[in-house]
Amino acid sequence: VQFEEDPYEVDCDEYPNHVSCLDNNGGGAIDGAPGIINVLDALPNEPVTITFWHVYGESKGALLQEFIDEFEADYPNVTVEAVSQGDYTTIRNNTLNAITAGNTPTMVVGYPDHVAGYLKGNAVIPLDDFIYDENYGVDLDDFIESYLAENKQYAGGYMYSFPYSKSTEMMVYNKDKFDAAGITVPTDRVITWADLDIWADTMVDPNYTVGSNDADSCQYLINFDSSSNFFINSVRQWSGGYTNSDGDILVDNQNTIDMLNYVKTRFADNTFSLPLAWNESYGSNNFIAGDVCMSVGSTAGINYNIPPGGEFEVGVVPVPQYDLDSKSAVQQGPNVAIMSNTTDAERLASWLLITYLTKAENTAAWAMETGYLPVRHSGVQSADYQAFLEIDSPTDSLYYSSLAAQAAYAQYEYFEYDPAFAGAVTSSDARFQAGVAMEALFGGYSAQEVIDDMVRQLGA
């Protein structure tokens, strides 16, 4: 352990890219290369090995490996060792440990708050020099704006991470039931909570027995897979405030209380529900079983909501909104960062890999296979992806992925991301508590109790 008078007084000559040496201009944009990182003119000829920690399991991992193999074919002297760390908590812990041990991988996948944490250890590099490099740079305009904004919210406004695997939420509904109930779910406009209230009147059957799969009714009208997203989205729509990137918790206000009270009534009359209603983590089983008529979940999880035997038809639409004036859809999914404990060659190789992975056709291919969304406009526009978006045959294996993607794009105007902050309380904690709050509300606690507990836990 070294002792320093003030660890925040970092020697900025030595660590020009340390978080403490950067001005915090509030997530504002940086234009041009800051000149922090030395970008090599060309990859050296010696072999370069980079390690890439990710979180993808067997199938996504295999797909990633295919890209890597292609990449390695293009750059024969670069070897990429891609290693799955399991889940997000593990990758974060392992990376933190690796940083402390001074023994990091070359690049990692992670959420913004992970990267914000790594930044405290001076462990990631800003990518701006690469982004604006003549040889290796990318055209930022080609990237989905909110993805960029999310990755620019670090101190100094530098991009310490780069968008990689992105997803959002969509809603599925049981078309057959709606048909039977004589309701048509509009596809030309965003569904509102008011719609839901009306439909609930006809479709929610208080005496519904679980598993009975009545033709035209359900136990609950709508399920929200992620209680965190439910809270965050709703609080935004109600202008309740969530957090800011300084880590301030902004939920303790009347708007939030109102929102929660509203939701509470909808819980009470079985309009809204959470997977908890069935002791599950996701509502897909009960959606398939017909217990719930609609379900909000991640676009990447669409296939779990499709009845395997095609028992009923599934419709996919954007997430319902409370207030059409302040619409909000979560944008989530990990980004990728390059660690600082690396050589220039490794950095460049990593950057090349990042750009390779996010290349239009690759980001599109990745998106189609995994249920994520392309990070580039050009990816979205690519012929393959456009073809994918136009799939309209329910027999096509990508049909529902396509529907989900369409729903996603319908809402990408109002994508919102979580402000990232690290520290004693992280943005992940806030998100976690948001979920807890929603669940407790569902469990019967009052709006005030729920908020109080959230505030208390987040130590605001």
Binding site: F3, E4, P7, L276, N279, A422, G423, V425, G444, D453
Partner: protein
Amino acid sequence: MLERQNNLKALFYLAPAMVLLSVFTFYPLFNAFFLAFLRDYEFLLRSAKGFTLFGNFKNVITDPDFGIAMKNTSIITFISVPISVIIALLISVALNSVKKLQGAFQTIFFLPYVTNAIAIGMAFAFIFHADYGLLNTILGWFGINPINWVGLNASWSNAMFALLVYTIWGGLAFKIMVFLSGLQSIDKQYYDAARVDATPRRRVLTKITIPLLSPMIFYITVTSFIGAFKAYRTIIGMFGETLRPPGTLSKDSLITIVGLVYDALAHADATGKMSEAAAASIILFSITMIFTLVQMQISKRRVHF
């Protein structure tokens, strides 16, 4: 044992374990202790601003969850350990006394040790399910209404009950194995003598078996208490990251002291959080230590070597 001291020889025998322990146990331990007294420790940079005697401890103790953690830890410890030790003891003794099917039973009782954690989680979810769970079904036979054990908004005490069952279940296999191996080293002659002396079975158990097994009982008790003070995985296994029944707030949490440690460790990148983890560990350590010392003191009289 010879009365004469032989420090050199002891050193020889202790050296391999000690070298390894020094590197992989003592050193990390001192390291952890040390962290608890650093002010504003930055884990990632491994630097601190100076020392503080109680600062980190104060942070831990003033944590709103600390009291809850203390309560939960004590309850888990003082209920699950005695019960599981007694059950394991009875099972081992019973197992040791039967001939038929002994091997089969032994294998069965070992199974928890090799059973996949996810399967265990699923099975317990089924056991405690409010609607169709095994436990409520059985209770139903006795005319008892279904109880919400671990479901939505289950009460703290129900959840704790389920957790205790789960904890006890999880600890049986190991204890049974230890007791069985201990029972093997009891001279059968004592049982002959006891039979001739017309000793009722219960007295054979309490007056012969238990005292002669006391070294292993002591071992199991000490290590189980230590283990139970460190309870955490079981709670994660049962309730997931929230450490409580779904739909409840933090006052219903089943968090333990180690839960606090984990919580702090999960924020290793935050200033001073590692120190808090260390401080919480030391608090846990102190409680456990006092308790272990008491046990050792009692055992001096009770444990027959």
